[in-house]
């Protein structure tokens, strides 16, 4: 992600968060606080200091948490002293609402459970997902905020269509209308061979289903995958239907993706992975659920098994070149 995009994203979040302050305080200082935040973020971004930029973001988040409460208490206190009747229940409700909004709507923590996106994302990467960028802005919001549609090459988090309780992260290969097929592990999109530097190949052998997709359904094709084979193949190519995406993992021989379970409906897109805040080397089954053994394991090996060099790693969306 370009630094300016990260800055824009942080400023956008921050200006929403300002609404948690009491009204008088926000009207008096909100504008200057937002400007100070923007100034410092762009200053750090110009210096290409991503670590300090994210640290400043986290510092401001902690600062926001404590000072919103402090200013709320101060405003209730002064209201009581001045005998001004104020509906502080609504005021507090607004703050709590924004807390909930911030933690559930804007961002989401996500852990990578499998190696399907290696080498870009590793098993055990804990990251934050920007939930705003691909959300449906409505007719008005589209002009106000920089929302956008998923592009080819974007890394995207989405609900697994066969089981929406799971979130997957993969790369967008096909947009609606694209014709997709594979020939000896290479993606051919709309007749053009893709050069994809982000992929990883771990297996020399050639399986027709996996490497010369689409062939014919196999035992591990899911019901939605069967539907894709039945209705969306023309002349040996998958045609991505309207309102859906064709997703693939970067670890091509080791990824359960659209080849097996079909298209991802647009409304299942959750957001865009922002950065890895903690990367811990643990097996897949421990990452899917926190068990007591996993907690003890983290406590015992936190320093040795944390992959420190991956902290603050930003997964890169990258468009493939067409040949």
């Amino acid at each position: 992600m370009a630094p300016s995009m990260l800055v824009r994203f942080l400023c956008r979040i921050y200006s929403v968060l300002l609404y948690a302050y009491p009204r008088e305080f926000r009207l008096e200082y909100g504008g200057e606080m937002a400007q100070l935040f923007r100034d410092h973020c762009s200053h750090l971004a110009r210096a290409h200091d991503r670590q300090r930029l994210i640290r400043f973001g986290l510092l401001s988040a902690a600062d926001w948490l404590t000072t919103t409460i402090k200013e709320r208490i101060a405003s209730v206190w002064s209201a009581g002293r001045l005998h001004v009747k104020r509906n502080f229940v609504t005021e507090w409700a607004l703050t709590i609402l924004i807390y909930l909004f911030a933690t559930t709507t804007l961002m989401q923590a996500y852990v990578v459970p499998t190696g399907s996106m290696e080498k870009n994302l590793m098993v055990g990467d804990h990251m934050l997902v920007d939930r705003l960028v691909y959300s449906d802005p409505g007719p008005l919001g589209a002009h106000l905020l920089p929302y956008r549609e998923p592009q080819r090459g974007d890394i995207v988090a989405f609900l697994y269509p066969e089981d929406v309780r799971q979130t997957y992260v993969k790369r967008v290969i096909g947009l609606p209308g694209d014709r997709i097929r594979l020939e000896n592990k290479q993606v051919i999109r709309n007749g053009h061979r893709l050069i994809e530097p982000y992929t990883q190949h771990v297996d020399e052998s050639r399986f027709p289903y996996r490497d010369d997709f689409p062939t014919s359904p196999e035992f591990d094709t899911t019901p939605r995958g069967l539907d894709m084979f039945a209705h969306h193949i023309t002349n040996g190519e998958v045609i991505v239907p309207p309102g859906t995406l064709f997703m693939m993992g970067d670890n091509r021989e080791n990824s359960a993706d659209s080849r097996y379970w079909g298209f991802v409906p647009r409304e299942y897109v959750v957001g865009k992975p922002l950065f890895v805040y903690w990367s811990y080397d643990a097996p897949t089954r421990d990452l899917e659920q926190w068990t007591l053994t996993h907690v003890l394991d983290v406590a015992a090996h936190f320093f040795t098994r944390t992959r420190w060099d991956r902290t603050l790693f930003v997964p890169r969306s990258e468009a493939a070149q067409e040949q």
Binding site: Y21, F25, E28, Y29, E32, M33, Q35, L36, F37, D39, H40, F56, L59, S60, A62, D63, W64, T66, T67, T68, K70, E71
Partner: protein, 118 residues
């Protein structure tokens, strides 16, 4: 210390006053100055900074100056009362350092920090 009977200041307030002792300044300038004074040990977030300024305005330690730049940022200036409070706080801190030295908690001279003798 009895002659200056101001209450102890919190570290953010004290460092903001220190920053303003060098001349009037806007919020962002204060934030950078405080980070520089303390070697990044004290990083004021926007909420802390403006919360403090609000209280300091109310207490009369600082005032808004009439200067405004093209970005319409407000500038703040230290008042006489603010100077007195900052001096009293510095005095308090100096006495604390003397006390710490007498208990051998601190070296008499820190070669890296003190230019001459203590």
């Amino acid at each position: 210390m009895t002659k200056e009977s101001t209450e102890p200041l919190t570290p953010p307030v004290f460092h903001i006053l220190l920053a303003l002792t060098g001349g009037e300044c806007h919020g962002y300038g204060i934030m950078q100055d405080v980070a520089q004074q303390t070697n990044d040990a004290l990083q004021l977030g926007p909420g802390t900074l403006y919360g403090c300024l609000k209280r300091m305005l109310a207490a009369g330690l600082v005032e808004e100056s009439s200067t405004a730049d093209h970005e319409r940022r407000r500038y703040y200036r230290i008042t006489t009362l603010g100077q007195r409070a900052a001096r009293a706080e510095a005095q308090r801190l100096a006495e604390a350092v003397t006390a710490a030295r007498s208990k051998r908690l601190l070296d008499r001279v820190k070669p890296s920090m003190a230019g001459g003798k203590s």
